[in-house]
């Protein structure tokens, strides 16, 4: 018994010492890993202009022999798509690559990308000039997928499909339209009998790309909205309760009779909530669908700048079937990665190369819209400009 006790005590002390040692060694490792700052010092700036890159188009399965674990974090909107194609990529193309993407929200994704704790970030809105300055190293905003912001509502025992003009939507969230049988809603829906029920407009309480696209749409169509509220990741909402994340707003709308909210389309569809048709620039009421979102993408990418920072709200009237509140998710990448990250970065860029080509076809099965071919061309140029230790990753 005595020896057993001695052992227990010794084990306790040893465990404590080991724990302390672990902590110390982990810290010192961290210190040494932090010193090389090659990410900020970009050698021989390679421009995004097409001239700087070769015209060779590598095969989409270029990464089939890669071996690495790549970590990314950010947008919840792209999570279902990214995790799906990452699984398929690992199964069918590159067995040795695992892409670990965690949905911590766009804001979190930008923060972790800035801190360089992840290999790539993902955000429902491109980085602002100030954010890019704060990072201090050249970064790329690479669009990956499109989706729609749906206007969803909850009116008990009401089966008809509702239509909204932009001014009606602005009026509801501004608080000027207070009841479902308001003349403005009636004017949008002439053949529908609407109940005398108060409207409760819901919004996102957290900073979100969904809010950015929704408020940009309203600011672009309603001067009243532009002057009183404006557009942004989070705005000064005139009224109404807020929910955290698309799931929070969806839950609020589901629980509240008379509620209206804006969420990523798949949240409304998966929760069997009705979605409204929204009037576009051509004067048509269009429901958010894969096709109408793809139309919106096609209408706006032609004018997309080379830095790929653009919104797909309010497409021009030349596209009569386009849904007016489209959204995109961007993958955030550094233009130059340190040579010590070589295998991860190669595997990551090769994966995205596959994702913008073969990967796009998996989008529609989970209610996302693939990128337009014109846009893919521009994204190719961006991906080809990525270097690791100064050497281009793609041929």
């Amino acid at each position: 018994m005595l020896t057993i006790r001695r052992r227990i005590f010794a084990a306790l002390a040893a465990g404590g010492a080991l724990a302390a040692l672990l902590l110390v060694s982990a810290c010192s490792n961290g210190g040494s890993a932090a010193t090389p700052t090659s990410q900020t010092g970009t050698p021989a700036a390679t421009g995004t202009s097409p001239a700087a890159t070769s015209s060779v188009t590598p095969p989409t399965n270029i990464g089939k022999d890669d071996k690495a674990q790549v970590t990314g974090a950010g947008s919840t909107a792209i999570f279902p798509f990214l995790s799906k194609i990452a699984d398929i990529y690992q199964k069918d193309v590159a067995k040795g690559v695992s892409i670990n993407y965690q949905s911590i929200g766009s804001g979190g994704g930008i923060a972790q990308f800035t801190q360089k704790t992840v290999d790539f970030g993902a955000s429902d809105i491109y980085l602002s000039d100030k954010q890019m300055q704060d990072i201090g190293a050249p970064v790329l905003n690479v669009p990956m997928i499109h989706w729609a912001v749906a206007v969803t509502y909850n009116i008990p025992n009401f089966k008809s499909e509702l239509r909204f003009s932009p001014s009606t939507i602005a009026g509801i969230w501004l608080g000027n339209i207070k009841k479902w049988n308001d003349p403005a809603i009636k004017a949008d829906n002439p053949n529908v009998s609407l109940p005398d029920l108060p409207i409760t407009p819901m919004h996102r309480s957290d900073g979100s790309g969904t809010t950015m696209n929704f408020t940009s749409f309203l600011a672009g169509t309603s001067p009243d909205w532009k002057s009183k509220v404006g557009a942004g990741l989070s705005v000064n909402w005139p009224q109404g309760p807020g929910g955290k994340g698309s799931e929070g707003v969806t839950a609020l709308v589901k629980q509240t009779a008379g509620a209206i909210g804006y969420v990523e389309l798949s949240y409304a569809l998966q929760n069997n909530l009705p979605v409204g048709a929204v009037k576009n620039a051509a004067g048509n009421y269009v429901k958010p669908t894969l096709q109408s979102t793809t139309d919106a993408v096609a209408a706006t990418v032609a004018t997309a700048p080379a830095d790929l920072r653009f919104l797909i709200v309010n497409p021009p009237a030349s596209h009569p079937d386009a849904y007016p509140i489209g959204a995109s998710t961007w993958v955030l990448l550094y233009k130059d990665y340190p040579a010590s990250k070589s295998s991860e970065v190669k595997a990551m860029v090769h994966f995205f190369w596959w994702a913008i080509h073969d990967g796009q076809k998996y989008a529609t099965s989970i209610d996302y819209s693939p990128m337009a071919p014109d846009l893919v061309k521009k994204v190719e140029v961006a991906l080809k400009s990525i270097t690791v230790g100064g050497q281009p990753v793609l041929p």
């Binding site: 227990i8 002390a13 961290g30 279902p80």
Partner: protein
């Protein structure tokens, strides 16, 4: 003779009143006990009802499948939780027990008060704050989320629970036991290691079980340390998955299949914690008797 109240009568009436009061109080206590246990029973019933449909062996043995394909499991989360809770316990418990021993046996009364106060403060720090602290300590300098960071966060969380219990359990060991040892010429450290600690081991072990149960269910400290992982990863310097993290992500997602897996994973977590505390209790009960 006028009927006079005899002493026995008075005692009888008094007794009946006391018995009635006793019954009333018993009933109240019984109701309170029931009220305390009801939420737990309801919670267990609810978790079992919602979690059982998706609770299959594949839950343990398969990695998550892509959306749109049925099946798949949470193996990375099970493996990650076991590693991080295990390592966190391994790091935290020795520190906690030694801290508890120091506070009770060595520190002067004033220093002991300070240590106890600090342990209480640590117990009151929100777990998300500990996550952020470890983020600054390990994740940001190492430039990667890691299972190690998750384990360290959990280790910090388990310390106050176990240290406090150790302190309290040692206080329960009678002074006479220590004095008996001293009288035989046993040095102080040996008294603590071989007499005091063994007498308190059941209580301390209960504290460890409580601590493990607490850290096994923590999500917040892992969000910014372990991050999560969709593939089985045993590397301590890579992101690692955990059951609470997986439950959080799946429960807030839009898909029905995710919600089902979140419930099943919750059931798994509850069963793991229950199973662990049951096994520990059985082992301790078997060892406890015997004149050491």
């Amino acid at each position: 003779m006028t009927p006079a109240l005899t002493g026995a009568d008075i005692r009888g009436r008094h007794l009946r009143r006391r018995q009635a009061r006793d019954r009333l109080m018993r009933a109240l206590l019984w109701c309170s006990a029931l009220a305390a246990v009801t939420p737990l029973l309801l919670l267990l019933m609810f978790v079992v009802r919602e979690g059982l449909p998706a609770f299959r062996p594949s839950l343990f043995t398969e990695v998550p499948r892509p959306l749109g394909e049925s099946g798949g499991g949470v193996k990375p989360a099970v493996v990650g939780s076991l590693i991080m809770v295990g390592l966190g316990t391994f790091i935290g418990v020795p520190i906690a027990i030694l801290a508890g021993v120091y506070a009770r046996e060595y520190a002067g009364s004033r220093l002991a008060t300070v240590i106890r106060f600090l342990i209480d403060v640590l117990a009151g720090v929100p777990s998300i704050t500990i996550g952020l602290f470890v983020y600054g300590l390990l994740v940001a300098p190492m430039h990667t989320f890691s299972g190690l960071a998750g384990a360290v966060a959990l280790a910090i969380l388990i310390v106050p629970t176990v240290a406090r219990v150790t302190d309290e359990m040692l206080a329960l060991v009678p002074r006479s036991v220590r004095e008996a040892a001293y009288a035989l010429g046993v040095p102080r450290w040996k008294t603590i290691a071989r007499v005091v600690l063994p007498s308190a081991k059941v209580g301390i072990a209960t504290g460890v079980v409580l601590g493990v149960a607490r850290i096994a269910g923590e999500t917040a400290p892992l969000l910014f340390t372990a991050l999560g992982n969709r593939t089985v990863s045993t590397s301590l310097v890579r992101p690692m998955d955990a059951l609470p993290l997986r439950i959080y992500v799946y429960a807030t997602g839009p898909y029905r299949s995710w919600h089902q897996q979140a419930w099943a994973a919750s059931l798994l977590l509850v069963l793991l914690v229950l199973g662990f505390s049951l096994i520990t209790r059985l082992l301790l009960r078997r060892r406890a008797p015997g004149p050491d």
